[in-house]
Amino acid sequence: MLEVPGDLHLHSCLSPCADITMLPGEVTERLVARGIRVASLTDHNAACNVPAFQRVFQRDGILLVPGMEATTAEEVHLLCYFETTGALWKFGRRLLASYPRIVNDPERFGYQLVCNDRDEFVGQFPFLLSVASLLSLEELRGLVEQLGGVVVPSHLDRRFGLLYQLGMVTSDMEFPTYEIAHKANVEKIAAQLPGHPQFVSNSDAHNLDSISPPRYVLEIEELSVHEVLMALRHENGRGARLL
């Protein structure tokens, strides 16, 4: 079994709350320096920068897991991962149809920049991305799973995390893997969850300095998106181990 250092929660200049320096070349350089081998660009509610990041990741030997951080109607943040970019686009279109079209005011909420693989800005996403979808947590999860994807609830120990927003996780909505912001919180959080989940802890980097050394490894048979998704589903002996 391979033990692969991962960071499956990164924002680019597309996320209004992220720094405009979060460009593929800059981000990749830091991921390589930190020894990250599997990464996911998970912007808020859109995936326009995934193609540019995928190209640069590929060039530097990092596996990209197609992903997005979606906001449910309850304003819970969910990391959504897919086997292919095709499935991600399908999800993106469904999500776009389910959220309110509010024209972004970059001066207030931040710029939402689309980039190419040469770290150049090529456009702006017009609608505000820090809004909540009209899809509930269960509906959104259903949609991701129907497309063959996996949902990992974001930063359980922080604002916009599942526990923070909804107060508890009942046994009918448990997940195989949860993300925590701080490893120190793992026991406290685990005690509030049903079942025996596993945890990952990603950088959730909104600026270049926040790209951290690996905090966990994925235990997988080979370096492929399929294997990573199996690890996130905690199945067939694959899994994640906090460092």
């Binding site: 906001t71 309850e74 304003e75 309110p100 509010i102 005011d105 207030r108 909420f109 820090s130 809004v131 909540a132 604002r159």
Partner: protein, 110 residues
């Protein structure tokens, strides 16, 4: 009534003193930011426990006159900075959103 009148009547702490001459014409109590964007009326006093910097952006976008942060919570420093830039008044109350909303209702805000 004005923001100044709300400050006087609630006895809440003033975290950011913006334009206190602004008119307050209604009230809205909610913590889901997207719901506030969709439903709150311009000129509202917004009662919430949210303290994130996005509160200020949402308030500016909707045209909220004053934000009242409840339960003794305090805004993050970037939120305070943004509020000052937007001349938006932020009040801190130790009361719950329920009691603060009740007081505003009694004051005549509907």
């Amino acid at each position: 009534m004005t923001v100044h009148d709300v400050i006087e009547s609630l006895g809440a702490d003033v975290a950011v003193e913006g334009d206190t001459t602004r008119l307050v014409t209604s009230g809205y109590t909610c913590d889901l930011l997207s719901e506030v964007i969709a439903k709150a009326a311009p000129g509202s006093a917004w009662v919430t426990i949210q303290t994130h910097v996005n509160v200020i952006a949402v308030a500016a976008m909707v045209g909220i006159s004053v934000v009242i942060v409840c339960e003794g919570r305090t805004c993050e420093s970037d939120a305070v900075e943004h509020a000052a830039k937007e001349h938006l008044t932020i009040l801190y109350s130790k009361g719950s959103a329920y009691t603060v909303s009740g007081k505003l209702y009694v004051l005549g805000l509907r």
